[in-house]
Symmetry: C2
Subunit: 211 residues, 2 copies
């Protein structure tokens, strides 16, 4: 696919079919992740690709209660939304409900792991939440999502399972120094899959020379 | 460009020419950033695109001492590297030196800002560095880098200026709740620009079902 076509039609696709994904397709998607830049080229991330049914079920069991807890706040925010945003957010919520009860049957869940000891986290000492470590993992996640788009695979970046990191680490046998930062269910879409997206206009997102 | 071609040839390009960039080209690059996914689609980031010569010089003046401080550790790591990695790392260091003294003349420095109050940071309470906030900004940074690649523009993701966040906020007049997470100098390449990259093989980066 053309780069801009892929980017501008990459949606969060949460209704995924259980159908298997060819090995060569998954290899292309996973290889695309490795191409991403990382600080000092240390590539301080790994993927544990979960395909085992029992482990997928375990991830769903850990995920669902957090999704359920997320819903009331989500519904509260709907109240204040303009009509078009509201419609699309309700659809997203329903798709999220679907994912929360079907995660066990998606063919693959890519769990991104990272090791902070391999990162230079330049905002670690600032008096606000640190994000810079994410600069060496989420570009790889975005490459993976775009590659899924390219291959006709649905996918969505989730982070709710970080609330259950200890359990996920035990489930996947992660070393002590490695943690989790993204959980991407991947599969062929149940419905239309990728397509038009709703984003703010560029002119709302960019200023020149000062705020 | 084809998606995989763009991704697999996206390099950190640190030698950038002062030549101007057409407005329509920059609009495409900045628009590509807006297409990225963010948690809850809140798009909790903005870009301040710095083109003003005095402000670019000020950013360089803040950046250079941190680059200089970074060099000794970088050189120490070279000692333990295999020969091919060493050669490429020395080149990167020299290019970094170039950037540190020419940042003031690049046509544009994209300063990515974010507001943590608009983010659900699911790893905020864990006993390790938080990265999840980065999940709502660095996919946009990666889109911007890939779009630069597509347009023949050199670029590199830097985060050293986070050490000087207070000064950068004052320089760009950022609101209190907004912080900085990436500084991307953009310009046409002095030398070959993008091309082959050195990354670990996919099989080293991915495991199945357990570590």
């Amino acid at each position: 696919m053309d780069l801009y076509d892929a980017m501008s039609t990459l949606r969060a696709v949460r209704r995924l079919r259980p159908d298997p994904i060819d090995e060569e397709v998954m290899e292309r998607v996973l290889t695309a992740a490795t191409w991403a830049p990382t600080g000092g080229n240390t590539q301080p991330w790994r993927i544990v690709a979960v395909t085992d049914p029992a482990k997928k079920q375990a991830l769903q069991d850990l995920y669902s209660p957090h999704w359920d807890a997320y819903i009331p706040g989500y519904e509260a925010r709907l109240e204040h939304m303009p009509e078009d945003a509201k419609t699309s957010s309700i659809k997203a919520m329903e798709a999220g409900n679907y994912l929360a009860s079907h995660m066990h049957e998606v063919p693959i869940i890519a769990v991104f792991c990272f090791n902070p000891k391999l990162m230079a986290i330049t905002d670690a000492e600032l008096n606000r939440p640190s994000v810079v470590g994410g600069g060496s993992v989420y570009p790889a996640v975005q490459n993976l999502l775009l590659a899924c788009r390219n291959e006709g695979l649905g996918c969505v970046l989730t982070t709710l399972l970080c609330y259950e990191e200890e359990s996920v680490k035990a489930l996947l046998n992660l070393p002590e120094d490695w943690y989790t930062c993204a959980h991407v269910p991947i599969g062929y879409p149940v419905l239309g899959g990728h397509g038009s997206i709703r984003r703010r206009d560029m002119k709302q997102m960019v200023r020149f020379n000062e705020w």
